[in-house]
């Protein structure tokens, strides 16, 4: 369905983040991408979603294809409209000053039809927790609710493919499990999911296939279960290796982006 070929991306013309990455997303699967901090996972998703220019990045080589058509250089709203591809950014991309209802409505902007009400019902079926705080400002909702809302908003765009960037970030294990169940449920309803995760264990458990990305390149790929058993993956990403930890990279620091509003 989506194939990426030898993609190279630099920020501000100098900082090379993706160094010839190639991967493929098959229709109907859950694809898991794991990798250390700074490996280029988020950049990869931004590039696919057509938002790399907004972050002062540039594609200098390679191609992104949807089927046989190149979507390289298209604007994010065009990609969303034509290919039903929605990108859920990391760190709960919700509008904190809008109510949950307004958040969902705002996400339906690209469609402009009359079925918004029905779709909100559909989202609330997936995430019953949102009903409770439906008319409150989203900024007051709990972390789990905010992440649910973010995915709910993505559903309002009627996606065929979802790019999820670290949805489990900062969530309690119980809620993470609930979230991953819902992701599986969505996948079963026909949505292709690309899941970028820190929580490699949980992600690889629900994923069909997985890629390990390092320094902007794919270093390993395989079936989800297969990767779970891989020695290196276990050591670096699952923290379950035989020897003591060799890298401090997995101690990821999270820095909130500066907010103005």
């Amino acid at each position: 369905m989506l194939s990426i070929n030898n993609l190279r991306v630099v920020y501000h013309d100098v900082i090379s983040v993706l160094n010839g990455i190639s991967l493929e997303v098959k229709e109907g699967e859950i694809l898991v991408i794991i990798g250390a901090n700074g490996a280029g996972k988020t950049t990869l998703l931004r590039t696919i979603a057509g938002m790399i220019h907004f972050y002062n990045g540039d594609i200098i080589d390679g191609d992104i294809k949807m089927g046989d058509v190149s979507i390289k250089g298209l604007d994010s709203s065009d990609i969303m409209k034509r290919y039903s591809l929605t990108y859920v950014m990391e760190d709960r991309p919700i509008f904190e000053y809008l109510t949950i209802e307004e958040n969902l409505k705002a996400a339906s902007y690209s469609r402009w039809d009359n079925k918004v009400k029905d779709d909100i019902e559909m989202v609330l079926d997936y995430f019953p927790g949102l009903k409770r705080t439906f008319n409150r400002r989203a900024g007051y909702a709990s972390g789990g609710e905010q992440q649910m809302l973010a995915i709910g908003m993505a559903l309002m765009t009627k996606p065929r493919m979802l790019l999820l960037d670290e949805p489990s970030l900062g969530l309690a294990p119980l809620i993470t499990r609930e979230l991953f169940q819902i992701i599986q449920k969505l996948n079963r309803s026909g949505i292709t999911v690309v899941l970028v995760e820190q929580n490699a264990f949980a992600a690889l458990n629900i994923g069909n296939r997985g890629y390990v990305v390092e320094m902007g390149r794919v270093v390993l790929d395989g079936e989800g279960q297969e990767l779970l058993k891989n020695e290196d993956v276990r050591e670096f990403y699952l923290g379950a290796g035989e020897t003591t930890r060799k890298s401090f990279k997995d101690a990821k620091r999270y820095k909130r982006r500066k907010r103005w509003l």
């Binding site: 972050y55 991309p93 509008f95 509003l261």
Partner: protein, 294 residues
């Protein structure tokens, strides 16, 4: 007491016009963190567009007013398209700098097209002068205040009751997030500039109606600075309250402080007010206190 109420009343009417100016700054600031320093030029340009339609081409006011505003909106949109849009995603500071340059270019264009002399400006609105005993509120400021508050409310309804307004508020919160959910942030920004330009034109027309229209009216735009800083750069309700505060401050300073011998104090009184407010509340009366979590 009568003098006081009279001065406050006069201040409120002109303050409502300032509030509208403040709103125009605030909606752009909320959306792109840019302070539009070209507001005075937009004001004069918008008023001139109306002038051409109403006085030169002779359309009736019911045609000239909406068409003039639409033209002002179009100009606002076009200006955004070639000057602000290329900077999307860059530092808001660079956009603010662009508006400074824009101010100069627009002023030159206005002077080039219409010269720098004054044009008489006289809308024959029904006389609604209120005179009761000592009280006297003349017609033009009342009209200006009323029209400004109506425009203000229309903008509020647009922002909070329509789908476009929702998209604008979403983009105002975070452009990247809005883009990720399929909202065309570039287009929304264009819409915001267009709306802002149209509102400024309303304020420009009403202020011109006090006297005459000339390129020197660009200085009116400076009044928006104390307004938005008192009210908070990102607060719509703050713009309304602060607009009235600035208007009343000016009027009271003119009625009570200037006769004491402090000539010209009326001009600086709003800035004094601004300093006092900023000492107490650095983000303005209604501004969002920004928290940075690291």
């Amino acid at each position: 007491m009568i003098d006081f109420l009279q001065a406050v009343g006069d201040g409120i009417f002109i303050g409502l016009v300032y509030a509208l100016l403040g709103l125009c700054i605030v909606i752009i600031f909320k959306a792109s963190e840019t302070f539009n320093f070209a507001i005075g030029e937009f004001l004069v340009f918008g008023a001139f567009l109306f002038y051409v339609l109403f006085f030169d081409l002779g359309f009736p006011i019911v045609v000239a007013f909406p068409v003039g505003l639409a033209a002002a909106a179009a100009v606002g949109g076009i200006i955004e398209w070639f000057s602000i849009r290329p900077l999307l995603g860059r530092s808001p500071l660079s956009m603010t700098m662009v508006t400074l340059g824009l101010a100069m270019v627009m002023r030159a264009v206005i002077q080039f097209i219409w010269g720098s002399h004054s044009y008489s400006f006289f809308l024959e609105l029904p006389d609604i002068t209120v005179e009761k005993g000592e009280f006297l509120f003349i017609s033009d400021p009342i009209w200006a205040g009323m029209l400004s508050i109506v425009t203000f409310i229309v903008i509020l309804l647009f922002l909070f009751r329509t789908r476009w307004g929702l998209a604008i508020r979403a983009v105002s919160e975070d452009q990247a997030k809005a883009m990720a959910f399929g909202i065309n942030a570039r287009f929304i920004l264009l819409i915001i500039w267009a709306i802002s330009a149209a509102c400024i034109a309303v304020a420009g027309i009403m202020i011109s109606n006090f006297g005459a229209l000339s390129v020197t009216s660009v200085s009116v735009g400076l009044r928006s600075i104390p307004v938005v800083l008192i009210g908070g750069m990102d607060s719509i309700i703050g713009a309304l309250v602060a607009g009235i505060i600035v208007g009343v401050t000016e009027s009271l300073a003119g009625a009570y402080i200037e006769p004491l011998g402090l000539v010209g104090f009326k001009e600086v009184a709003p800035y004094f007010m601004m300093l006092i407010v900023l000492f107490i509340r650095p983000y303005g009366l209604f501004g969002t206190v920004r928290i940075e979590r690291v």
